[in-house]
Amino acid sequence: MEVNEYNACVREWADALFRFACKCTGQASDAHDVVQNSFEVLWQKRKEVETGKAKAYLFQVAYRKSIDHYRKKVKITFAAPPEETYTPANPDLKKILDRALAQLDDQARALVLLKDYEGYRYEEIAQITDLTETQVKVYLHRARKILKEYLVSVENII
């Protein structure tokens, strides 16, 4: 990978990587560090990484950094938005889902984000996270069930 190709990766994927890291770590400052470290690793390994696989490589590094970040912390302090009601008149589903996402463990959250934000398929997520395809599928379905139950519980409260 040449310098101009690396710079193109920065321009194209920095925002997506930051969003992913933000949701994984729950903190913008931590996400900033994750993004910076990920691109630093890419720059160091630029001779080995093909341009077409740079995005997956970046997310792989960011995923590992995010997991490491969580492991270092004794307790996750996810910056969840304040409680809001979910009604047809105020369908702020996005915020409710953000809160639901906070209920998930770090790995399940990362899998959901890779699936929904980046649109990766099961086998691609398996390559990024070093899991098997079946594991990815099982963890993702477990996470979907938790999210759905959270939505049902919110509906019941309403």
Partner: protein, 286 residues
């Protein structure tokens, strides 16, 4: 096959966007058959997250690396024109040279092909400046040069040169004296070697100068081979002369008839034919 036991897995795969079109159709058919499950399906679809575009990384410049700057060498206008003119001149000169060389090659090739190949005699060092003949006299042209016998003809080739070159004649006389002094057996071999069959083609000037002594040698007169007379098929037949004459008469009459038939064919003009029988013109139209 979707059932009450596995429908949830299909719903989650639908939310993940991993269902094949056929499987998605099957799921919809199952939901149509069981409408109570439609709300559950809607909840699974709601769990699909959408990226927050407002979240952006503002410090991209710190991640960017300096790219190597490409140096652009700019020429003044007059220099551009000068270079262009120089290239054009170079191309023109090269092209001219190329065409000229081709013409010369073609000319050389042409002369080479038309000119007959005349082998030089072995001792022909003194006659290099003399004009080379383009066509040989008929009697001499008939003789073919045998490259293997050129070495035998060396002594004979010197002989005509003696007649017009006095200095060389003296040396030749000495040479002849030497030849006369050699043994009869050796002399016989020299005489054999001087036969016309083994001679190389002498130059026209040599022929002109050496013609008187050459005329005395009858062996030089090579008569052209007689042309083989054409014999008709009838002549070749193993029959008597009287029968042959009769056959010839029949052949003559037959060929005359065929000629008249061809003449009639020529006289056919469109839809009519005119021919003459005993000075009477007969015209038939059809």
């Amino acid at each position: 096959m979707i059932s009450w036991e596995n429908y949830e897995e299909y719903m989650m795969m639908h939310a993940d966007g991993e269902l094949k079109p056929a499987e998605a159709q099957e799921l919809m058919a199952f939901l149509d058959a069981n409408p109570t499950l439609k709300s559950e399906m809607a909840l699974y679809d709601l769990t699909r997250l959408t990226p927050d575009e407002s979240l952006t990384y503002h410090d991209k410049n710190s991640l960017l690396k300096p790219e190597p700057v490409k140096r652009v060498i700019s020429f003044p206008k007059w220099r551009k024109y000068a270079i262009a003119a120089g290239i054009a001149l170079l191309v023109f000169v090269s092209l001219f040279k190329y065409i000229d060389t081709n013409k010369n090659n073609a000319r050389i090739a042409k002369t080479d092909t038309t000119k007959p190949i005349i082998p030089e005699p072995a001792n022909n060092t003194s006659n290099k400046n003399e004009p080379q003949p383009q066509q040989e006299p008929k009697s001499i042209a008939a003789t073919t040069v045998q490259p293997a016998k050129v070495t035998h003809a060396t002594h004979h080739d010197i002989h005509p040169q003696i007649t017009h070159n006095k200095q060389l004649a003296n040396t030749k006389q000495n040479d002849n004296a030497l030849v006369n002094n050699i043994t009869p057996a050796a002399k016989a071999t020299t005489e054999i070697s001087s036969l016309p069959i083994t001679t190389t083609k002498p130059l026209p000037s040599e022929i002109a100068m050496a013609s008187p002594p050459m005329a005395t040698i009858p062996a030089y007169e090579i008569t052209p081979p007689a042309k083989p007379t054409k014999r008709s098929l009838i002549d070749r037949l193993p029959i008597d002369e009287a029968n042959k004459r009769q056959l010839k008469t029949i052949a003559h009459i037959t060929s005359g008839a065929s000629r008249s038939v061809s003449k009639v064919k020529e006289e056919i003009d469109g839809n009519a034919i005119t021919f003459n029988i005993k000075n009477n013109n007969i015209h038939i139209s059809f």
